[in-house]
């Protein structure tokens, strides 16, 4: 029997695949469907205190080797999103609440609400590359990062993960701040800051001009970040970025990830990508005589 179950801090997962934040996680129905398609857990879209429409369209565009998006953190606000979480929980899935804010107070308030709705863990979005005042703008400030993590940790009892960006001069010092804040895990990476210009219209295509790059093209960047963090620190890491196949997931796992999140991969392989990836991981393990996926975590170091 091949065992692909894994843990991140106290969170136990049947398999290493998790739905990434911001993809097909606006409604309970959507998240339940992803869980039925094999994901061991889902991360909610990043939720803020108030409803936000996000940027006008175009907010997303397919590129040759990836996807570019600047949604602008659209979300119905924490109050309205409650019922989506409750419904997912009623169905029995593991749900990780992603939240964004610009101050420790906002994060605490969101975190407490999320916990009260029943999420199994929190993911702090410190890395969205295109929302002014949020995400990466918060996530590159070492002190603020530490304070946010610390205060959220002090306010809730569930595991707290911090999601970071690859767009950092010094990923190690931000990872350190997260660890000093006593987070239970790091999620790496969010999308990579990028832009595409249409030659005919001579304009950036996204309404926000700058967006975040995801999908196949960014895998080597994400793998590098996971490796760098786990080379230096022993905190659990969830790998994200360009995972499309079981081999991609294994590359992250060998780099040091205890689990992986999958977003754009759905575009390439459909909503059942979670099942497919688990099957591919299993058959790789079978062929290579591995019984427990935990034996593969970080072996590339």
């Amino acid at each position: 029997m091949i065992d692909i179950s894994t843990n991140i801090a106290s969170l136990k997962l049947e398999n290493p695949t998790i739905l990434a934040s911001g993809i097909l996680d606006e409604t309970a129905g959507s998240m339940i469907s992803i869980l039925e398609n094999g994901a061991a857990a889902v991360v909610t879209k990043s939720i803020g205190l108030k409803p936000r429409k996000g940027y006008p369209n175009p907010t997303i565009i397919e590129l040759e080797y990836g996807i570019l998006n600047a949604m602008g953190l659209p979300n119905p606000g924490i109050k309205e999103y409650r019922e989506e979480i409750i419904e997912v929980k009623r169905n029995g899935g593991i749900i990780i609440g992603s939240i964004f804010g610009s101050t420790p107070e906002e994060f605490i308030s969101l975190a407490e609400k999320m916990e009260s709705y029943g999420v199994n863990a929190l993911e702090l979005n410190l890395s969205c590359p295109h929302a002014s005042g949020y995400g990466l703008e918060v996530g590159q400030d070492r002190k603020l990062v530490k304070t946010i993590v610390e205060e959220v940790k002090n306010s809730v009892h569930i595991p707290v993960f911090a999601k970071i960006s690859s767009n950092l001069s010094d990923i190690s010092s931000i990872a350190k701040a997260i660890i000093d804040g006593d987070a239970d895990g790091i999620v790496a990476i969010n999308t990579v800051k990028a832009m595409t210009i249409d030659l005919e219209l001579q304009k950036p295509i996204l309404s926000n001009k700058i967006g975040g790059y995801s999908g196949r093209a960014i895998k080597p960047i994400g793998v590098r970040c996971v490796y760098e963090i786990t080379e230096e620190y022993s905190i659990p890491v969830i790998g994200v970025g360009g995972i499309v196949s079981g081999e991609d997931a294994l590359e992250y796992i060998m780099a040091g990830a205890s689990a992986v999140e999958i977003g754009s991969g759905i575009y390439y392989r459909g909503v059942d990508i979670f099942k497919k990836i688990c099957r591919e991981i299993e058959s790789w393990m079978e062929l290579h005589n591995y019984r427990n996926i935990k034996d593969l975590i970080g072996v590339a170091h």
Partner: protein, 256 residues
């Protein structure tokens, strides 16, 4: 892809058709994401299908469609797609029911059905005569055409669904294909009398490619990929159908 508007037709005082070069294969019922530079990108059905030329027909109602309405021959728009599944047009005797701009989505389907030699009946439902579009185009297909207006200014006075009820009780159709206000389509679901039905739904769309989750209904059905056309079996299990849609932030907006 950015394309240039090649022909413009005024269908009624608020509705225009643009034709442009876009050489891809398309099924009736599929849609494009149309980028109106500096304003917005919105989903619009493909309203005219030729090998190299495609068309869109839209009613001006808000920022994006108003700006689009101002564009002229030679202006450029962005086109992504086609997206979505499209209609399944099978032999038999089909009743098409279009409410408001819904007829835009249906017309290429009626044309395809007629090209296949299928017996087609079309109900065009509008509020008032001057909103009527595509009457001539549909007549040319040789379909049986019925017009309904809420105010009785032309054809049958009343809702398209009312007339549909009458037709369904006196004629035998093998299937129903509909597009229009969701409450109308919901009504048709109720009166369809076990006749197979397909309805094309509208939801707020951002990505159009099944990633962002904005258009999701029911248990994870993505209108942009799994729809916009759903058959009655699917519709029966979509609890939001006829109940609510969501705005740009994802909040529920209940139909009334």
């Amino acid at each position: 892809m950015v394309t240039t508007i090649q022909e413009v037709y005024l269908e009624n005082k608020d509705t225009k058709t643009f034709l442009f070069r876009y050489p891809v294969k398309i099924k009736p019922g599929q849609f494009f994401m149309i980028w109106i530079p500096d304003v917005d990108e919105i989903p619009l059905s493909c309203s005219y299908i030729d090998d190299t030329i495609k068309g869109i027909t839209f009613r001006r109602i808000g920022d994006a469609t108003k700006k689009l309405f101002e564009l002229e021959i030679g202006d450029k728009i962005g086109v992504r797609g086609p997206y979505g599944n499209g209609f399944n047009i099978e032999d038999g005797k089909i009743l098409f029911i279009g409410g408001g701009t819904g007829i835009i989505t249906l017309t290429p389907a009626v044309e395809e059905a007629r090209n296949k030699g299928i017996d087609t009946t079309v109900i065009i439902g509008v509020k008032t005569e001057e909103e009527l579009i595509f009457e001539e185009r549909l007549k040319e297909t040789g379909s049986k055409i019925y017009i309904t207006t809420d105010d009785g200014s032309k054809g049958y006075k009343g809702f398209a669904s009312d007339l549909a009820y009458k037709l369904l009780s006196r004629e035998k159709f093998s299937s129903i294909i509909t597009c229009g206000p969701e409450l109308m389509m919901k009504k048709i679901m109720d009166i369809r009398n076990d006749i197979p039905m397909q309805a094309s739904l509208e939801r707020y769309m951002k990505c159009g490619i099944g990633l962002c989750g904005h258009c999701v209904i029911g248990k994870g059905l993505r209108v942009c990929i799994d729809g916009p056309v759903f058959n009655h079996q699917k519709l029966e299990h979509i609890k939001d159908f006829g109940l609510y849609r969501r705005d740009a932030s994802g909040r529920k907006i209940f139909f009334k």
